[in-house]
């Protein structure tokens, strides 16, 4: 059992975004989190690598363990946690600097100083995301000159460079055109097995194509809750919760 949340709650001030979310995520598997807008999916994801610490008024209750260790425990710092639990955002967010620098910035920050190691890692992760052939002759170019899809893959390379165990993907394809979206989706598929991945998506077809497990979020009593979870095939084909069933069938939401 890689990631385990127990009665996880997220609230901003007095408004509750997520209530009582209990979920188990298996090592090396892809877990899709689906549900209508505003049902707490992203807040749930943000709580897993303590990005919620950065949001004003955000308050997290319950427990999250990764490999049995409480992420809020005294021995764990959020910086180390985020190195192990990488995050990809909906909008590609390369920094306004060179492609090389984008990848090496965080590596240096986490202690990698040796030139050869930095360069080797840069090449390895760019190859992993299929960007190496496209950019190997212009690593000094600004990352902002890349297309949206390339930028998103660079962001994934940047996260992979830190050798995380977990990748949190917050609607990684929704800001991209269909072709770029397809490339990123293919990349996620290739990475299956090497990383434990949680992907928030609006695209039910994508969730069905990618996911081993699915969790359906819904708003109940003004807060996001998990109304359905389990192996993808079971959830899509025989959902137990009637609301989830309607949503997955495309009737609602």
């Amino acid at each position: 059992m890689m990631i385990q949340t127990e009665s996880l709650g997220v609230q901003y001030g007095s408004s509750i975004a997520v209530r009582d979310a209990t979920l188990s995520v298996e090592t090396g598997r892809i877990t899709a989190i689906v549900g209508p807008s505003g049902c707490g999916k992203s807040s749930f994801l943000a709580a897993l690598n303590r990005m919620t610490d950065l949001l004003p008024d955000a308050h997290v209750t319950g427990r999250v363990t990764i490999d049995g260790t409480d992420i809020h425990g005294e021995s764990s710092s959020p910086h180390d946690l985020r190195r192990r639990v990488g995050m990809i955002f909906q909008k590609p967010t390369p920094f306004p600097m060179s492609i090389r620098r984008n990848i090496q910035l965080a590596l240096r920050e986490h202690g990698m100083r040796e030139r050869a190691a930095l360069e080797a890692t840069t090449e390895r992760v760019l190859r992993d995301v299929g960007l190496w052939d496209e950019v190997c002759d212009r690593l000094e170019a600004s990352a902002l000159q890349l297309s949206g899809g390339q930028q998103q893959r660079l962001c994934m390379a940047r996260a992979l460079a830190l050798e995380p165990q977990v990748l949190l993907l917050d609607e990684p394809c929704s800001a991209l055109d269909p072709i770029a979206s397809e490339r990123v989706e293919a990349l996620i598929r290739e990475l299956r097995g090497r990383y434990t991945m949680l992907i928030v998506t609006h695209n039910l077809a994508q969730a069905r194509r990618l996911a081993d497990h699915v969790a359906v979020f819904w708003v109940r009593d003004g807060a996001g809750v998990i109304i359905e979870q389990g192996p993808a095939a079971r959830v899509f084909d025989a959902p137990r919760d009637p609301t989830a069933a309607a949503y997955l069938a495309g009737v609602q939401g």
């Binding site: 600097m97 060179s98 090389r100 620098r101 000094e140």
Partner: protein
């Protein structure tokens, strides 16, 4: 190999550290140095060569009209006395008087007489500034009374015919606000600036002289020194007498010409030997050429 941007970012920390160091380096001498001793003169001035042993620093502040003249004189004084530094600062006659009184400056400068409440100070006149009315050389009017000048400048008279001249419209050439000659002119004729109906507004004396020289019906007022230099150079203008007194440097120097003001150095209490030497130098004939070149009138000794 890092990108140039990498280098920039890398340097951000170092840069801010460096800046703090620079700041400290700048401030350290300032904090370290005691308030500048104003005069560090030798007390051996009465020996055989008093001029050569003068040394120290003088601060002179005040009238911005007098400042260029005193700055030039100071430069000459410094050239003669290697150990002397004279810092001339401006800020207006009022500041000169206040600074001299409370000791912020060794000597003040004022482009006016001392007022009744300023009798605790001593004025040392170094030059005079005369303001003369000028018209075109071909203008036949010999003289204007004070009342006629006021009428002309307030537009009650619009034609030279009304003041014994030819049938020619009057072009009033007035100075821009803030000009020293403007104040002297307005004061003498008890005019307020808004009352004046000007046809042309000019900046400095040269501008005024050129305008009057190029306009047969014009009347303006400029520094007498500047006007005399222009007339000597063949510029077609003429200075009008005031109250029957000819507008010449000689009359200004003699104190007979009314439209004038003294340029004063102002001191309070006991003068240091250096300050006394400088004041004396400012009043000496050695600086008359400088006074003239600044378009002021040297005093007749």
């Amino acid at each position: 190999m890092f990108g140039p941007q990498a280098v920039v970012a890398e340097h951000f920390r170092t840069v801010s550290k460096t800046l703090i160091w620079i700041l400290l380096c700048i401030l350290a001498p300032a904090v370290g140095c005691t308030p500048r001793t104003k005069v560090m003169h030798d007390h051996q001035e009465s020996t055989t060569q008093p001029a050569s042993v003068l040394s120290g620093r003088l601060t002179v502040t005040g009238s911005s009209t007098v400042a260029p003249l005193v700055a030039e004189i100071a430069k000459r004084f410094e050239a003669r006395h290697a150990g002397v530094r004279i810092d001339v600062q401006t800020g207006g006659s009022g500041k000169g008087i206040a600074d001299a009184r409370n000791g912020v400056a060794d000597i003040g400068m004022a482009s006016r007489r001392l007022k009744a409440g300023e009798r605790d100070l001593v004025a040392h006149q170094i030059a005079a500034d005369g303001v003369g009315l000028i018209v075109h050389r071909d203008n036949r009017v010999a003289e204007l009374t004070a009342a006629e000048v006021v009428d002309v400048f307030t537009d009650r008279s619009n034609n030279w015919q009304e003041v014994r001249g030819l049938d020619l419209p009057i072009t009033v050439v007035h100075k821009a606000e803030g000009r020293a000659t403007l104040e002297v002119f307005l004061n003498h004729f008890s005019l307020a600036n808004p009352q004046v109906r000007a046809d042309v507004i000019v900046g400095d004396n040269q501008h005024g002289i050129k305008t009057v020289a190029g306009t047969p019906g014009a009347i303006g007022y400029v520094s007498i020194g500047a006007a005399e230099a222009a007339i000597a150079g063949g510029v077609p203008i003429r200075l009008l007498p005031i109250d029957g007194v000819a507008a010449t440097s000689a009359q200004v120097a003699a104190g007979a010409y009314p439209l004038t003001r003294p340029l004063n150095l102002v001191t309070a209490g006991g003068l240091s030997p250096l300050a006394r030497a400088f004041v004396t130098f400012c009043q000496s004939e050695d600086v008359h050429d400088t006074v003239v070149s600044q378009h002021f009138v040297p005093l007749a000794n």
